[in-house]
């Protein structure tokens, strides 16, 4: 198998800037057939921006996106959907005033209807309807198809969101936090679904739930400040000390001491994650050794996390110092 065949979706040095803020920085990642690739990272790491770049909702500032070996960087969103790329949204994004079935039927119609049939009535298109029902059943909604989508419970709307992405029978599925707001039971069902989906599609998953991510993903990419901090199989990522310092700190153990990590100029860090009002908050201290930053892959950038870390780009301290982390 050549490289292009192996990688259904590939990005090459993808970047996106909003004015002075670089949300996604030189991200190169690839997604193989039959692979479940999870992207994790702290809030504001650029995960959702990445999904928006991949799906075509946002144009990249630089870099390229290859879908099935073809450059789709300049293609509009709808054209990418026709090439086999479907997405779900972090915040539920459905056609709220239409019925559940109509939501999914439209998703099928978008990619499967011959244009000459456009003026036919939808009730007669049994193939479209059957496909829509199958997708709904697969996402865990086998009944209640005539309900108005907006009246569903939140968890069911999340399932509908996934059914809409599935219905198009895409090659690549981009799922932006599919578990957000789901109960544990539904979450378990979706976990099973994702595992089975990954065998036939390539799935790019964005998720906050660490236990979930480590249990289902074949590969992990950690984004911090829009850049790839680490990428590889879950066990490698789990033991990567840069990742621990940047993101996982306090996940396994409540309080984690990070080994000195000279590549990042971090002599020593102690972080812990606590449950805050809007998501995890970070507390702890980090010691920075300025003499080590030369070996840093992102030279000149010191810090754990741009929002909670002690330094922003370019502000390398000129002497060893201790910094308090804040949320």
């Amino acid at each position: 198998m050549t490289d292009a065949e192996a990688h259904l979706l590939r990005t090459i040095a993808l970047s996106k800037s909003f004015g002075g803020l670089t949300a996604v920085r030189d991200v190169s990642l690839s997604l193989a057939r039959g692979e479940l690739h999870a992207v994790i990272g702290p809030n504001g790491a650029g995960k959702s921006t990445l999904v928006n770049l991949l799906s075509g909702a946002l144009p990249p500032t630089s870099g390229r996106i290859l879908l099935d070996g073809q450059d789709v960087t300049g293609l509009p969103q709808h054209a990418r959907a026709h090439r086999g790329l479907a997405r779900s949204f972090q915040r539920t994004n459905i056609l709220a005033s239409l019925t559940v079935l109509e939501n999914v039927r439209l998703a099928v119609q978008a990619v499967a209807l011959a244009p000459r049939r456009l003026l036919a009535r939808p009730e007669g298109e049994t193939t479209l309807i059957e496909r829509a029902k199958a997708a709904l059943a697969r996402a865990g909604l086998p009944y209640g198809h005539s309900r108005i989508a907006g009246t569903l419970a939140h968890g069911q709307q999340r399932q509908l969101e996934i059914a809409m992405a599935l219905a198009a029978a895409p090659k690549v599925l981009l799922l932006d936090e599919p578990l957000a707001g789901m109960g544990p039971e539904e979450g378990e069902r979706i976990a099973q679904l994702l595992k089975s989906l990954a065998t036939e599609h390539a799935v790019l998953l964005i998720e906050h739930d660490m236990d979930f991510v480590f249990s289902v993903a074949d590969r992990l990419t950690v984004l911090v400040e829009g850049a790839v901090l680490a990428s590889g199989p879950p066990e490698n990522v789990r033991t990567n000390s840069a990742v621990q310092a940047a993101y996982l700190g306090g996940h396994a153990a409540h309080l984690l001491r990070v080994e000195p990590y000279p590549a990042w100029g971090i002599a020593e860090a102690s972080t812990r994650r606590e449950r805050g009002a809007d998501g995890p908050e970070w507390h702890g201290e980090v010691d920075v050794d300025p003499h080590d930053h030369g070996a840093c892959p992102g030279a000149g950038r010191v810090g754990l996390d741009r929002r909670r870390g002690c330094h922003r780009s370019g502000h390398v301290p000129d002497r060893a110092s201790r910094h308090r982390l804040r949320s």
């Binding site: 997405r87 949204f89 056609l95 109509e102 009944y143 005539s146 309900r147």
Partner: protein, 350 residues
């Protein structure tokens, strides 16, 4: 269940009311004086314009202030293709007027649909006024004064409906029935579109355009198609106006016409296809009544419209006469019904 097309009646009662309305219109000339025949013709033409705009406003969620341009342009086309003394048959003028209006809508829509919301409103207004000033400031159609059309007005297949050959009381009838046929045809055509999968896409765009885009719909193309169709249908209304009145002037093109059509939609109901018809009739008869009782008819109109909009957010056709019927669809049940689901495959109808 997919759900019914939102803008069409959901019950037999609604459909009965609509067909009853059309039947009343069919026999109306036998019942009223010629003055009212003319007035109802005017109302039917206004209803056609408003109904064509409803494809954008109610069905797709696009509020345009330039719709009058296509209406007026079509009326001018009738004038331009009918040199003095010799009227062209309707089977020639109508397609020409609709094609010209549709083409203009395609071009204007292609540009203005690059914007959204308020900006779309402003850009369509600007284009509408552009067309207005073309007719207002050039000698193309008689300039500011407008121009009279050649008579006879309505002819088809070699037969001319020469109004003067009819008894005085029936002179307004040909235009009336031609307008009625077009009104019914336009209603049927729009109902056909709204029920089709094309119409369902427009509905999806109205509800959540960004989602439709992510699903793979080229929403720009769908909106442009709707804009072009609506423009062409507005052309039919403008053509009929020229046929009835025998006169064109730049006021037909101006933004007042577009605003009036929007008002008709608002009064009749933004959520139904029949709304613009009801709204146009209500508005024109309100106008007539107000004129008879006072010199300040605009004041009366304004007050009634304000009251109507405040008290009936969904317009006249949005009033629910019956409580919503319970959902009778078996699929709506949440109980697992595996056996039923597997064995109740319905035989195909064909």
């Amino acid at each position: 269940m997919i759900g019914p097309a939102r803008m069409l009646p959901h019950s037999w009662l609604g459909w009965s009311l609509i067909w009853l309305g059309f039947c009343v219109l069919a026999v109306l000339p036998y019942l009223v004086t010629p003055f009212y025949v003319g007035l109802v013709t005017t109302a039917m033409i206004a209803a056609m314009l408003a109904m064509s705009l409803q494809l954008l406003v109610g069905a797709t969620g696009l509020v345009s202030l330039g719709h009058g341009a296509f209406y007026g342009l079509a009326a001018y086309v009738v004038y331009l293709v009918s040199p003095e003394g010799a009227a062209k048959p309707i089977w020639m003028t109508l397609p020409l007027a609709m094609a010209a209006a549709g083409l203009a809508a395609f071009i204007i829509g292609a540009i203005s649909l690059r914007t959204k919301g308020f900006f779309f409103l402003m850009v369509t207004l600007a284009f509408g006024q552009l067309v207005y000033f073309v007719f207002h400031d050039t000698k193309l159609g008689g300039g500011t004064d407008g121009a009279y059309l050649a008579k006879p007005l309505i002819s088809a297949f070699g037969y001319a409906f020469e109004p003067t050959s009819l008894p005085r009381s029936m002179r307004a009838w040909p235009a009336y029935y031609v307008a009625l046929v077009q009104l019914v045809a336009m209603f049927a055509l729009l109902a056909f579109f709204l029920r089709s999968m094309f119409g369902r896409v427009l509905e999806g765009i109205r509800v959540n355009e960004s989602r439709m885009l992510a699903l793979g719909f080229n929403t720009y193309a769908y909106k442009l198609a709707a804009f072009t169709i609506a423009g062409g249908l507005a052309g039919a209304a403008g053509h009929m106006w020229a046929m009835q009145s025998g006169f064109v002037n730049p006021e037909l093109v101006g933004w007042h016409r577009s605003a009036e059509a929007l008002l008709h939609i608002l009064i009749g109901g933004i959520g139904t296809l029949a709304g613009p018809i009801v709204g146009a009739f209500a508005f024109i008869f309100l106008n007539e009544v107000a004129q008879q009782i006072t010199e300040r008819k605009l004041l009366v109109e304004g007050a009634v419209i304000l009251a109507a909009v405040l008290m009936m957010r969904n317009g006249i056709t949005g009033i629910r006469w019956l409580p919503n019927l319970p959902d009778t669809d078996p699929d709506a049940s949440h109980e697992p019904r595996e056996g039923v689901m597997q064995h109740s495959r319905e035989p195909a109808n064909d």
